[in-house]
């Protein structure tokens, strides 16, 4: 019967990669536009992989030894660090590799680890990276160096995958808690902020000497050492090359052993989320006095009359800015960058800062405006509460806009005043603020319409394995790009008025500012009206777009 006809059981090492492939494939089938997204992803990988391969081959045959070594050493480090930390920072889509999902199966550790490692290599990005590393082997493997290059790049791939699994498994339990996720959002933002800060401050001034100093440090680390072994093999320093190859390879078993320990802990541990929740609940228990005669607070809502729904939305948004690190940090980043941009640009003028530089302060709301093109994303499935309330999309947008204005308009003022203090261009402050307000209005008007017509969902689950958006990155990026283009086109008249002010002077410029403000108000009203009409006509569609999981 069935038992006698059944094939032999397959090892987890074979089952898990197939599981990942099937989940990715089925995920594409289930999501709206999934096929388009997958095609775009494949096209992207099909471009990046061969271009990377060709670049590595070309670099390998170039005569610039310093460039060869720097690119190889820094590149290898980037591959390993990126592979290790990106799943944490992007709350990636690798749901298939969550060890806790496998805890109920009688899996032995060895096959499980082999299966998880193999599954890590299934996907477009791993294939693209593998092709890139093959380019290194081909490009740098001449003169017999291939005997070192091939194991070195294989070891780099294995080391990257192992360390990635080790890091994600070790942090999995932390990252599945709310506080853990919040901390990770914070870390992500600090990293992004740091990188952007570096870009503003230093990246343009990095010269070859600096690169060499970085290179000297990185080649002492495992991925850099593997890259350096290829360079030394190519130069005929075989003993050194073998030593540099052997040392990182010896680390792989150690990393595997560490990961095995972490997996043992994960697979033996039952989920302690309910206990955590209970502890949290008890910690937050309020004093008895607060339980009697509660009254609405923090809403500026006094009196017995009804309150416009947009004010309730604004109050909710303000609370979310404080409590949801994703939103708070998104806005904080936007404001910081918006402030930093004009200031750094002004510093670029040197010591003799012209008074018209104050006008740069008007751009302080620019990033906030760009972020306003997807305002319903973070509401996600909770948007049903707004939809069933009958409050209308206009109230939701006005409430959200009100909070954005209260945060970004002060940034415009602060930036303008700061630049005036540096340049002495005080007559331009009013003009700058008017231009900034005009741009804010125009941008929010466009953002409101785009938010309703082209909402992009943000994954509900935010642990390291739970994004569920695999294969859709390209399509979403294209939508975002087009939206940004539209916003910039609508902001162009404000920018032109700003440019005209530079030659026209502060007095006429203030007139231009008034015109910009009128333009902004007009565009905001128009955009909000169109958005409200479109949104109210299909609130259910908006809900479905921001929470696709409900549309099963």
């Amino acid at each position: 019967m069935g038992v006698s006809q059944a094939s032999a059981p397959q090892s987890a090492a074979r089952v898990l990669p197939r599981l990942k492939w099937r989940l990715l494939r089925n995920g594409v089938r289930r999501r709206t536009g999934g096929v388009v997204a997958l095609v775009l992803g494949v096209l992207y990988a099909a471009v990046v992989a061969p271009v990377g391969f060709a670049a590595m081959v070309a670099l390998g045959s170039s005569g610039d030894d310093t460039a060869r070594r720097s690119v190889l050493v820094i590149g290898a480090t980037v591959v390993m660090v990126g592979w290790s930390i990106l799943p944490l920072l992007t709350f990636g889509s690798d749901e298939t590799l969550d060890p806790e999902r496998l805890a109920g199966f009688p899996l032995r550790r060895g096959p499980l680890m082999r299966g998880l490692l193999a599954a890590s290599l299934v996907g477009l990005v791993p294939v693209a990276v593998a092709v890139l590393l093959m380019g290194v082997v081909v490009g740098f493997g001449g003169g017999g160096a291939v005997v070192v290059a091939l194991p070195a790049m294989t070891a780099l791939l294995l080391l990257s995958v192992t360390v990635s699994r080790l890091v994600t498994s070790a942090l999995a339990s932390t990252l599945t808690s709310r506080r853990g996720r919040d901390v990770m959002v914070l870390v992500t933002s600090v990293v992004v902020l740091g990188v952007q800060g570096l870009r503003f401050i230093r990246l343009g001034s990095i010269d070859s000497a600096t690169l060499l100093r970085i290179d000297d440090v990185l080649r002492l680390l495992p991925p850099g050492m593997l890259a350096q072994s290829i360079i030394d093999a190519g130069a005929g320093r075989w003993a050194l090359a073998v030593a540099e190859l052997a040392a990182p390879m010896a680390i792989i078993p150690a990393a595997l052993a560490l990961w095995a320990g972490v997996l043992d802990r994960d697979l033996d541990r039952s989920d302690d989320t309910p206990r955590r929740t209970e502890r949290s609940r008890l910690r937050r228990r309020p004093p008895r006095s607060e339980l009697v005669a509660p009254a609405p607070r923090d809403l500026m809502l006094v009196g017995s009359g009804t309150v416009p729904p947009w004010r309730a939305v604004a109050a909710r948004e303000r609370r979310y800015l404080r409590r949801d690190p994703r939103r708070g940090l998104q806005l904080a980043n936007a404001v910081v960058f918006s402030l930093a941009g004009p200031v750094f640009a002004a510093i670029g003028y040197g010591g003799d800062l012209p008074g018209t530089s104050v006008l740069l302060g008007s751009a302080a709301a620019y990033v906030v405006v760009l972020a306003a093109t997807n305002q319903f994303a973070f509401d996600g499935a909770a948007l049903w509460m707004d939809v069933v309330s009958g409050a209308g999309v206009r109230a939701l947008l006005v409430g959200k806009n009100a909070v954005l204005v209260t945060v970004s308009l002060p940034a415009v003022v602060a930036s303008s005043v700061l630049l005036a203090a540096l340049s002495g261009g005080w007559p331009y402050v009013l003009c700058s603020v008017l231009l900034g307000a005009g741009g804010l209005g125009a941008g929010l008007g466009a953002g409101n319409y785009i938010s309703v017509r082209f909402p992009i969902p943000v994954p509900e689950r935010r642990n390291v394995f739970g994004g569920g958006g695999a294969g859709q990155g390209c399509a979403r990026s294209l939508i975002v790009l087009v939206c940004f283009l539209i916003v910039n086109l609508l902001l162009a008249p404000v920018a032109v008025l700003g440019a005209l002010t530079v030659n026209a002077g502060a007095l006429i410029g203030t007139g231009f500012g008034v015109v910009a403000l009128g333009y902004g108000v007009l565009l905001w009203r128009l955009g909000t009206q169109l958005a409200a009409e479109a949104g109210d006509a299909d609130q259910a569609g908006l809900l479905e777009a921001t929470s696709p999981d409900l549309a099963a």
Partner: protein
């Protein structure tokens, strides 16, 4: 006078799958109405279409005579909704969430303050008033979502699986609140798998299967002296099993995998 809910030709299709196939249903006012059916029968889809959360492909829904999809605002003002696995604005505290829900529905802050004190008391949520909803247990989430649904004193309550994942104490509390609501003239429509609860508290019941209503009427009439669960199983179960299948299940269990 219009019934509380009237559905005519209500239909929804997901891809190639018909989730709901032309439902016609009248639910009288003041009724405690149970919508039961196996998984995937179309209960949740039906409730979402009735509450303005999912646009039907065909058909119409009237609530107290108001078309949900044309008199949207007026119809929604009549409604209280508790979706299955309701995602809430969970970075608000329970107290703030209730405030938000009430104010969004046009209640005055004073009315909100008075009512939520009572609702929290009845639903035994007092000690969780200042806890973020994200830290609530499943049962507490159900209760706070129910509190949001009833705070504005709706005429009709739609509840999707209100008793799922809820402990017996919370179940009793929710049931008491709902019975009080219908005693005051409100209408409750709820879906459930728990036949005992449906049998005990519902005046009327509809059984759904594969997107269709296959039985509807007064609970007593549907039961016809039997247990509702037996009637349900008889109506929706596929071909009976011979008992010959799963023979291997009686063999010695627990042999470890070969790898």
């Amino acid at each position: 006078m219009w019934p509380a809910v009237v559905m005519r030709g209500l239909a929804k299709r997901y891809g190639h799958k018909d989730a709901v196939v032309g439902i016609n249903l009248d639910i009288p006012r003041g009724c405690f109405f149970g919508l039961v059916g196996p998984n995937g029968a179309g209960k949740t889809t039906t409730i979402r279409m009735c509450t303005g959360l999912l646009r039907p492909d065909a058909g119409q829904v009237w609530l107290n005579g108001l078309d949900v999809w044309t008199d949207t605002v007026s119809a929604k003002a009549l409604l209280g909704v508790l979706p299955a696995e309701a995602k809430l604005f969970d970075r608000l505290t329970g107290r703030e969430l209730l405030e938000y829900s009430g104010l969004l529905r046009g209640m005055s802050p004073g009315d909100v303050a008075v009512r939520f004190a009572e609702v929290f008391q009845v639903l035994d949520l007092n000690e969780a008033g200042d806890t973020l909803v994200v830290d609530y247990s499943t049962g507490m989430r159900k209760k706070i979502a129910l509190a949001c649904a009833i705070l504005h004193n709706p005429a009709i309550l739609f509840l999707d699986e209100p008793f799922e994942s809820v402990d017996p104490v919370a179940t009793r509390t929710i049931r008491d609140v709902l019975e009080r609501f219908t005693a005051g003239g409100g209408t409750v429509i709820f879906s459930s798998h728990v036949m005992e609860v449906v049998e005990r508290i519902c005046d009327r019941v509809a059984i759904m299967d594969r997107g269709r209503i296959i039985a509807e009427g007064a609970t007593e009439a549907i039961r016809a002296g039997r247990r509702l669960e037996d009637v349900f199983v008889e109506l929706v179960a596929s071909a009976p099993h011979s008992g010959g299948e799963l023979g291997w299940l009686r063999a010695a269990p627990g042999s470890p995998p070969a790898w």
